[in-house]
C-alpha cells in the first residue's frame, strides 16, 4: 500500500506521454463500450421477451394476415389463458416522411395480462371504455408534448380506412412505461397502443390480424401448446407458425446479418493496435528510468519489488484509462439511445460488457508490461547506474 504514491509519481514522470497514452487507451475502450452496446442490443431479444408468451404468425411470413376467427380456436387449446390479437400500424404524426412511429392495435386486456407494461389501473379502465383510446409511451408523449385528454390525429397509408381517408383520430387515455424490474432500466417507450376493434371496424379490409399474443397458463406447457396450435391450422388456407417471442426475435436478428462478427473484427483490430501503443509506451518509460530503478535496487529494493512496481504502473495506466473510456461510452450512450429510441428501444452496455472490458484492460496492462517487468527484474545495478 505504501508504494502507491511512488507508483503514482512514476506514472506522472512524463505528464504529456502518460496523458496521451491514457487518452488513446480510453478512446479504444469507449469504442469497445459503444460497439458492445450495439451488439448486446441486438442480442437482447431473449431478455425482453417473456417466457410464457407465444407469438402466432402466418407461416408464410411475418405481416401476412391471419383470420381473427382463429382466436376462439386458439383459446380452446388446453393450457392457453388467452390469445390476444395484434395488428402493427406504422402511424405517422405530422410530417409523414420522418416521424413514423410504430403502433400496435391490441385488445385492451393485453395490459392486464402482459407484465412488461405498466399502466395505471384507472387508465386501463379508461382504455377499455374508449373505443378511440390510445395509450402512449411516456417518452413519446414527452417528445410530442401530448397529455391525457388530448385528441391526437395520426396518418397511415398502409391501412386504408373504409371511407378512403388516411387520418385517424384518437383520444389519449393513458401512459405506459416498460416494467423496469423485468426489462431493466433505460428502455425507451416510444410507441403507442390503440384498440384492435376500433381499427378493424374503421378500416377497409376487415377481420384479419398480423399476429396473436398467446399467453400460456404454465411455462411447462409451452412446447405442447405450440405444437397443437400449428397442427390445428396446418391444412388451412393460412397455416400458422408459433414461436416464443425470444425465438422470433432471434431469427429476425439472424437475418439482419452477423453483426457480432463485424463488431468482433473491428475490436480485434482496435485491441491489436492498442497492445502495440501501450507496449511501446511502457518500454520507453522503462528505458528512461533504468538509472532510477537501479537506485531503488541500491537502496535495498529486491528484484521482485522493482518488477512489481513496474508492472503495477502499467496495470494502473491501462485499467484506469480503460475504466475512463467505458465511463465515456456510458455517458455518450445515454443521449444517443434516446435519439434512436424509435428504432432500438434499448441501447446500453449489457451485463458483462463492463466486466469483460475491465478484464481486457487488465490483460492489456499485463501484456504491455511483460518485457519491462522481465528486464527490470534482471536489471544489474552497476550497468543500470552507468547508463547515465
Amino acid at each position: 500500500m505504501k508504494f502507491i504514491p511512488l507508483i503514482w509519481s512514476m506514472l506522472w514522470r512524463r505528464r504529456a506521454r502518460t496523458v496521451l497514452t491514457a487518452a488513446s487507451i480510453a478512446a479504444a475502450f469507449m469504442l469497445y463500450g459503444m460497439l458492445q452496446a450495439v451488439g448486446s442490443t441486438l442480442a437482447l431479444g431473449g431478455k425482453t421477451a417473456s417466457a410464457d408468451t407465444l407469438l402466432t404468425t402466418n407461416r408464410y411470413g411475418f405481416g401476412k394476415p391471419l383470420p381473427y376467427a382463429y382466436r376462439s380456436q386458439i383459446e380452446a387449446v388446453p393450457g392457453v389463458r388467452n390469445a390476444l390479437p395484434g395488428v402493427i400500424v406504422p402511424f405517422s404524426y405530422q410530417d409523414s416522411r420522418t416521424s413514423t412511429q410504430p403502433s400496435v392495435a391490441i385488445d385492451p386486456q393485453t395490459f392486464r395480462t402482459d407484465r412488461r407494461f405498466v399502466v395505471a389501473p384507472d387508465q386501463i379502465k379508461a382504455f377499455e371504455a374508449t373505443r378511440t383510446g390510445i395509450i402512449v409511451g411516456r417518452d413519446l408523449a414527452t417528445k410530442y408534448g401530448w397529455k391525457i385528454g388530448d385528441r391526437i390525429t395520426l396518418t397511415t397509408h398502409r391501412i386504408p380506412r373504409a371511407d378512403g381517408g388516411i387520418y385517424w383520430d384518437f383520444d389519449m387515455v393513458g401512459l405506459f412505461d416498460y416494467n423496469a424490474e423485468l426489462l431493466g432500466e433505460g428502455v425507451s417507450s416510444m410507441r403507442t397502443f390503440v384498440r384492435y376493434d376500433y381499427i378493424d371496424e374503421t378500416r377497409a379490409g376487415k377481420g384479419s390480424v398480423d399476429l396473436f399474443f398467446v399467453h400460456v397458463k404454465d411455462v411447462a406447457q409451452v412446447p405442447a401448446v405450440t405444437k397443437q396450435i400449428d397442427t390445428m391450422f396446418q391444412n388451412s388456407g393460412s397455416p400458422t407458425k408459433t414461436q416464443t417471442e425470444s425465438e422470433q426475435q432471434r431469427s429476425m436478428m439472424a437475418q439482419i446479418g452477423d453483426v457480432g462478427a463485424i463488431i468482433r473484427a473491428v475490436l480485434s483490430a482496435v485491441f491489436f493496435t492498442l497492445v502495440v501503443v501501450a507496449g511501446n509506451t511502457m518500454m520507453r518509460s522503462f528505458r528512461e528510468r533504468i538509472p532510477e530503478l537501479a537506485v531503488l535496487k541500491t537502496l535495498g529494493f529486491t528484484d521482485t519489488k522493482v518488477a512489481v512496481l513496474v508492472g503495477a504502473e502499467a496495470l494502473l495506466l491501462c485499467v484506469g484509462s480503460g475504466v475512463l473510456g467505458l465511463g465515456l461510452a456510458w455517458l455518450i450512450l445515454k443521449p444517443v439511445s434516446h435519439a434512436i429510441a424509435a428504432v432500438f428501444p434499448v441501447l446500453r452496455m449489457g451485463d458483462g460488457v463492463v466486466s469483460l472490458g475491465i478484464t481486457f484492460a487488465f490483460a492489456l496492462g499485463v501484456v504491455s508490461a511483460v518485457i519491462p517487468v522481465w528486464h527490470s527484474a534482471r536489471l544489474n545495478i552497476v550497468s543500470g547506474l552507468s547508463r547515465r
Binding site: Y60, G61, V277
Partner: protein, 392 residues
C-alpha cells in the same frame, strides 16, 4: 533554402530505421484506422451499389401515391388501362407500351446456410419485363412460360435459399413451383428475387391487385409529361417515381445507417490513433533533440526542421494507411453478406466493395491525421532552446 529543406528532410527520413519502434507504432495505428474505415465503408458502398445498379433515369415505377415500397402499393385491374395509355412511355411497334405489370409477395423459405427461414421476394412480372429490364439475362435454363407455374430465380437468391436448384420443384407459401431458369441482373437487388408470370402468381395467391408498373420512358425528359398525365387523372391514385429516386429511398435508411456507423467507428479510432501518433512523434523529436539543436546551431532555420518532422509524419501515416487499406482489400473485397432490408424484410445479398476511391479516401484521411498529429511536436521543435538542448 529549398536545398536545406530537402537535405534535412532526407536526413530525417534516412534516420527513421534507428527509431523503428516509435515509427512502427504510428504505422500500425494508422493501418488500424484506415483498415477499419475502409472495411466499414466498403460495406456501406457495396450495399448502396446493389440499389444504384438497378436505377436507370429513363425507367419509372408507378406506385400508389405516398408509398415508397412496392409492398404497400396497389393498382386495381380497372386502373391498368388508363395508366398504360398515359403519354411519355416508350411504345413497341404494335403500339403497346414497354411496361411490366408487377405484383410482389413475400414467401418464408428455408435459408441455405442457416436453420431458420428468410423472406424470399417473389415478383410476378409481365412478359415485357425482359425488354423493360434488359439487364436481366437468363444464365442457365430458360425463361418462364406464361400461364405455367414456373419460376426463374436470381443467382444470389439461389445461393441464399435452399431448394432453388434448376429443375426442382419447391413449395412456396403453399403453392408448388418449378424452377426453370436462373437469371442475373447486373448485381442489383433483383438477383435476390424469384420471378414468375404475374397472372399466374396473383391467381395462385388469390390476389386481385397489382403492386406496381415498371415502364420505359421515351426519354428521361418525358417523366414530367407522364407524371402530369397520371396525377391529374381523378380515376387514378398512383404516381410515377423515376427509378434512381426509388432505389435511393429503398437502400437509403439502412445504407445511411451503415455509413454513419462506419464514420463513427473510424472517427473514434482516429482520435485514439491521433493521441498515440502525437505521443510517438514527440518521442521521435525527443530522440533527435541533439541532432535538431546541432542543425540549428549550424545555422539551419527552424523551417527545414519543422518540415522534416511533418514529412516523417506523412510518410509513416501514408504507409500505415496503405498497409491497412491493402489488408481491408485482401480480407473483405467481394466478401458477401446478406441482410434484411426495407419495410418488407426481404433478404438482400451484397458484396463489400473496396474501390480505389475508397482506398485513397483512407490514405487522405490518414495523412490528415498525420498533419494534425505532427503539429504539437513541430511546435516543440521550433521552440527548442538550442543551448540547453546541446548541453543535455
Amino acid at each position: 533554402m529549398l536545398q536545406q529543406l530537402f537535405a534535412v528532410t532526407m536526413l530525417n527520413l534516412r534516420s527513421l530505421p534507428s527509431r523503428w519502434d516509435t515509427a512502427l507504432v504510428v504505422v500500425i495505428c494508422l493501418a488500424g484506422v484506415s483498415g477499419v474505415m475502409v472495411s466499414m465503408l466498403s460495406m456501406a458502398d457495396g450495399f448502396a451499389a446493389v440499389f444504384d445498379r438497378a436505377g436507370r433515369a429513363d425507367r419509372v415505377i408507378i406506385l400508389s401515391t405516398g408509398e415508397t415500397y412496392e409492398t404497400g402499393s396497389s393498382i386495381q385491374r380497372d386502373q391498368v388501362a388508363p395508366l398504360l395509355s398515359a403519354p411519355g412511355m416508350q411504345r413497341l411497334p404494335d403500339g403497346k407500351p414497354t411496361a411490366s405489370l408487377e405484383r410482389v409477395t413475400m414467401s418464408a423459405s428455408k435459408l441455405a446456410h442457416s436453420t431458420g427461414d428468410g423472406n424470399l421476394m417473389m415478383r410476378g412480372v409481365s412478359e415485357a419485363v425482359w425488354t423493360v429490364r434488359p439487364e436481366a439475362e437468363i444464365i442457365a435454363g430458360r425463361r418462364f412460360t406464361p400461364g405455367l407455374r414456373e419460376l426463374v430465380v436470381g443467382r444470389t437468391a439461389q445461393g441464399q435459399f435452399a431448394g432453388l436448384d434448376l429443375g426442382s420443384t419447391i413449395s412456396l407459401s403453399g403453392v408448388e413451383w418449378t424452377v426453370v431458369g436462373v437469371f442475373q441482373a447486373g448485381g442489383s437487388a433483383f438477383e435476390s428475387e424469384a420471378w414468375a408470370d404475374v397472372e399466374v402468381l396473383m391467381n395462385a395467391y388469390h390476389q386481385s391487385a397489382y403492386s406496381s408498373i415498371t415502364a420505359l420512358l421515351e426519354s428521361p425528359s418525358s417523366f414530367n409529361v407522364l407524371k402530369d398525365a397520371i396525377t391529374t387523372n381523378p380515376e387514378l391514385s398512383q404516381s410515377p417515381i423515376a427509378e434512381p429516386d426509388f432505389y435511393a429511398a429503398q437502400g437509403g435508411t439502412l445504407g445511411m445507417a451503415m455509413r454513419i456507423v462506419g464514420w463513427l467507428v473510424a472517427s473514434i479510432m482516429s482520435v485514439g490513433a491521433l493521441f498515440a501518433a502525437v505521443n510517438a512523434l514527440y518521442a521521435s523529436v525527443e530522440t533527435r533533440t541533439v541532432e535538431i539543436a546541432t542543425l540549428r546551431a549550424l545555422g539551419f532555420s527552424s523551417l527545414p526542421v519543422v518540415t522534416s518532422i511533418l514529412a516523417e509524419a506523412l510518410v509513416l501515416c501514408a504507409s500505415g494507411a496503405i498497409i491497412g487499406g491493402a489488408i481491408a482489400y485482401l480480407l473483405f473485397n467481394g466478401y458477401t453478406l446478406s441482410t434484411i432490408s426495407g419495410a418488407s424484410f426481404t433478404q438482400i445479398q451484397f458484396a463489400f466493395l473496396v474501390s480505389p476511391a475508397l482506398f485513397s479516401k483512407g490514405v487522405l484521411w490518414s495523412c490528415g491525421l498525420g498533419i494534425i498529429g505532427a503539429m504539437p511536436p513541430m511546435i516543440t521543435a521550433a521552440r527548442l532552446p538550442i543551448a540547453d538542448a546541446l548541453r543535455d
